[in-house]
Amino acid sequence: MKSRFLSNILLTFVWVALTGGFEFLNFFFGFVVSFLILWVITVGSGEAKYFIIMPKIIAFLFFFLYELIKANIQVAYDVVTPTFYMTPGIVRVPLNAETNMEITLLANLISLTPGTLSLDVSDDKKVLYVHSMYISDKEKFIDGIKNGFEKRLLEILR
């Protein structure tokens, strides 16, 4: 119930931002619309509470942006230069993340940074298979993910 309420508030803000009218009536209307939508689709079985940890999120966002730009440049270099310096492959990364939300966010973040791509999660949710452009050292690569994205992400989410 609480989580649904939070989702509701969140959606209300999205609505207000979209319509651009900061009046009480618009908030109210946005709330009603969001409420109805949530009621229709009965979503939100607990995940939404995580969104309230705002500072950590912001910190994480900056970390992510940094990674994003860094990796982009690395790849860009490889793209524009005539020869490829890549050592690509598919790596099996064991997961600490447990819930669907955690796994999904992690996989997406990995995918979003250039050069890596989450291919799939094993059915028992223990392993993430990642395709990467640069695997000079497999252990180092896995370590980078586990101590980088995963650790920070789980900090926020848990």
């Binding site: 651009g20 994003l68 982009n72 492959g89 979003l112 791509l117 395709h131 452009m133």
Partner: protein, 128 residues
């Protein structure tokens, strides 16, 4: 001032998009293409959209721009994941210089069940 900002954002964005396009053409295998491009474009489009937001400088438009960016960031990796997975099912081969394939033999051919370990029983191999 804002004009300069717009120009910078737009230029950077365009370059990223362009590089993604070049990458798509140049990359030697499907996984690399997915890997390289989807995200580069995402970043590039995000930057261009920010340029537009600055240009119009209006709350409703800015919020719309943010919504678009949010959406691209939400969907692009999922799409990449789906299509990458589908590539593997359909037997798209890795680049010949690839160094490893941990996924090999993990998919059950008929049900597409993915196991986490190399189990003792022999798994059917999707790739031919």
């Amino acid at each position: 001032m804002s004009d300069v900002l717009i120009a910078i954002f737009a230029t950077l964005g365009t370059i990223f998009v362009f590089l993604a396009a070049v990458g798509l053409v140049r990359m030697p295998d499907t996984y690399l293409r997915i890997s390289v491009t989807t995200k580069a474009a995402t970043l590039g489009i995000g930057l261009i959209l920010i340029a537009a937001a600055i240009y119009f400088n209006e709350l409703s438009i800015t919020s719309r721009v943010l919504a678009i960016i949010l959406f691209i960031f939400l969907t692009a990796p999922v799409g990449a994941h789906l299509i990458g997975r589908a590539s593997y099912f359909t037997g798209v081969k890795l680049w010949k210089k690839s160094v490893m394939d941990d996924l090999e033999g993990k998919y059950k051919k008929t049900t597409h069940k993915l196991s986490s370990e190399d189990s003792n029983e022999k798994q059917e191999d999707v790739k031919k």
